[in-house]
């Protein structure tokens, strides 16, 4: 049983799943398979044409009343077909590869650009926009996002890098690695990631963290609101600079997990924790 779960979690996300080519006409019925795609579609103004979303899609609030076609990991092919979509847009995951193939076999176009890297984001948005029939809106959205991201980058530019640990789990300690999407954001926010390099979600030995002595700790496993103050876990490592200086933050990372229109806001939240002085 555990082997099955391990296999599922260990499958790498696939490279670009784009099917032959998106329909040239403006699709009237769109199904979205991923929360980030849903947000992007609405930001592009294609919201009214989105007929169904995944169970994890929760933004903007109006999508909560839309029909659901399964989870991000395991979409229901039947439910999707029942919605008679003109195009299905998602993000690649180990679970939905089969679904994508099944949909293509019945002649439904599937577009699934892979937002694995920060640098790929503009193209991902462009692909989604093209598939939704609004390429110009796509360019505008890309431009806006780039502008806002650049503004944040400018604030922290030139500031000395801070050693940051971002943790997504305490027991065991799992960190955000430099090769992950969020890890890239951290780097852009002016942080030196103290997690062991080369792995997207490293399971970190605690003594390694103590030796690297992070100045800021962002812990997404603690609580639901951003709050200052360390939890008991970090308090037991009093030699850490972050603990001594009171820079241990709980963080609800939902927004920045999504490579979508809210990314700049999440990026700014992150940067504010790394370099609060840039906003005073």
């Amino acid at each position: 049983m555990l082997v099955a779960i391990a296999a599922l979690a260990a499958l790498p996300a696939r490279a670009d799943e784009a099917s032959p080519s998106p329909r040239p006409t403006v699709p009237a019925r769109i199904v979205s398979l991923a929360p980030s795609v849903t947000e992007t579609l609405f930001a592009l103004g294609a919201g009214p044409r989105v007929v169904a979303v995944s169970t994890f899609c929760d933004y903007p609030p109006e999508v909560r009343s839309l029909p659901k076609i399964g989870s991000f990991v395991a979409p229901s092919v039947e439910a999707i077909i029942a919605q008679r979509p003109d195009v299905v847009i998602g993000a690649p995951s180990p679970g939905n590869h089969e679904a994508a193939l099944a949909l293509e076999r019945v002649g439904i176009a599937v577009v699934a650009p892979d937002p694995e890297h920060l640098a790929a984001m503009p193209d991902v948005i462009r692909t989604i926009a093209a598939a939704a029939g609004v390429p110009d809106e796509g360019e505008r959205l890309v431009a806006r996002i780039e502008r806002e991201m650049a503004a944040v980058r400018a604030r922290v530019a030139g500031l000395p890098r801070r050693r940051v640990l971002m943790a997504v789990g305490q027991d065991p300690l799992v960190g955000v690695g430099d090769t992950s999407f969020i890890g890239e954001l951290l780097a852009e926010a002016g942080a030196t990631n103290v997690a062991p390099p080369g792995v997207p979600w490293p399971r970190i030995t605690l003594e390694y963290v103590v030796a690297r002595d992070p100045e800021v700790i962002i812990d997404t496993s603690m609580g639901t609101e951003q709050q200052s103050g360390a939890s008991g876990f970090w308090q037991r490592l009093p030699s850490l600079a972050a603990v001594r200086d009171g820079r241990v933050y709980a963080f609800r990372s939902d927004r920045i997990l999504r490579p979508g229109p809210r990314l700049p806001a999440g990026f700014e939240d992150l940067a504010r924790l790394v370099h609060p002085e840039a906003w005073r």
Binding site: V73, P172, V199, T205
Partner: protein, 337 residues
């Protein structure tokens, strides 16, 4: 003595040697890790220096935890093997571990809602272990009789059921929680909290004492329920007490460190090869041997890869599986019993 009985001298000698080996292992393991410690600064008890924090807050609690967990698993394994008359029994077989895992995972997943205190997950898991124990015993009791065969079957079914629920949970949570769940299940001995270590030591001590008091009964039980009754054992009671004690050990361990396999299965066998099957020696020796084994396995798990660590269950399985096959073939080669 021609008869080969267990003497006090032997009991003391074997356990003494193992205890010494454990002490050495604990000290050595505390000195080993991916980070080099500056030993001049490491004994600063104000914990201002990272070396001291590493030694006293990350390594020592963890090594102690490994010793306690390894010992508990090995002893529970030996006891269950006697109870089920099956040298292939593993402490996770009886459903208590998966019940603990299920409860722990539920707490893990719901934690943001529950305003997590760090001990919510272990507490929930332990409660799950106790509940599972109660359920499995309850379901196995037919007409107020508790038979080993029934216990085994109910345990296996319960495992399957809990396992299915676990898979279900893992399929409906979001990606990051799924990862958390998976990692929790794989097991981790990392802790910085001496109160957890202390609490675990206490619970496992209770279970251990319960089992040691019944050691001779276990010898009799391993011959068969009728044989045990003929030798004066109150079979029902002995079975229930053994099961409860073993469940206490396993439940406490799984709550805090997840599922670590192979220790409970392989260590009793290894020990039996050297000490014989008399449970009065087998149980304490298994505890100590299990402790030593897991201390080293965990040292490998947390040191081999630099800053990242392998789940200790991986190390125990990698060592345990080939060794187990070797043991199995060796036993099969002898005349069948």
């Amino acid at each position: 003595m021609a008869v080969g009985q267990l003497t006090r001298a032997r009991l003391v000698r074997v356990n003494g040697v193992l205890l010494a080996m454990l002490a050495v292992s604990v000290v050595a393991a505390a000195a080993i890790g991916p980070v080099r410690i500056d030993w001049r600064r490491a004994f600063d008890l104000s914990l201002a220096s990272p070396d001291a924090v590493i030694l006293f807050r990350t390594r020592i609690p963890r090594v102690l935890m490994a010793a306690i967990v390894g010992g508990a698993l090995a002893t529970a394994g030996a006891a269950l093997q006697a109870l089920l008359r099956n040298p292939l029994a593993d402490p996770h077989l009886l459903g208590v571990s998966s019940g603990a895992a299920l409860a722990g995972v539920c707490a893990l997943v719901l934690r943001p809602v529950l305003l997590g205190h760090t001990l919510v997950v272990p507490a929930a898991a332990f409660a799950g272990a106790l509940a599972s124990m109660w359920i499995v015993v309850g379901l196995s009791r037919v007409d107020r009789r508790l038979e080993s065969y029934t216990l085994l079957l109910v345990g296996v079914i319960y495992n399957a059921f809990a396992g299915a629920l676990l898979m279900f949970i893992n399929s409906v949570v979001d990606f990051y929680q799924a990862h958390n769940v998976l990692f929790w299940l794989m097991g981790s001995l990392g802790t910085t909290d001496y109160t957890v270590v202390g609490a675990l030591a206490l619970y496992t001590l209770v279970g251990l004492v319960m089992l040691l008091a019944r050691a001779r009964d276990l010898d009799c039980l391993s011959l068969g329920d009728d044989r045990a009754a003929e030798l004066g054992v109150r079979v029902e009671r002995a079975r229930v007490v053994t099961f409860v004690a073993a469940s206490l050990l396993v439940g406490a361990v799984v709550s805090v460190s997840g599922m670590i396999g192979f220790v409970g299965l392989v260590i009793p066998h290894l020990v039996r090869l050297r000490t014989g099957s008399d449970h009065r020696l087998l149980l304490p020796a298994s505890y100590l041997a299990g402790a030593i084994f897991l201390v080293w396995a965990d040292t490998a798990a947390r040191t081999a890869l630099g800053g990242t660590e392998m789940p200790v269950g991986v190390v125990t399985a990698l060592c345990g599986a080939p060794f187990f096959v070797y043991l199995l073939r060796r036993e099969r080669r002898r005349a069948g019993m």
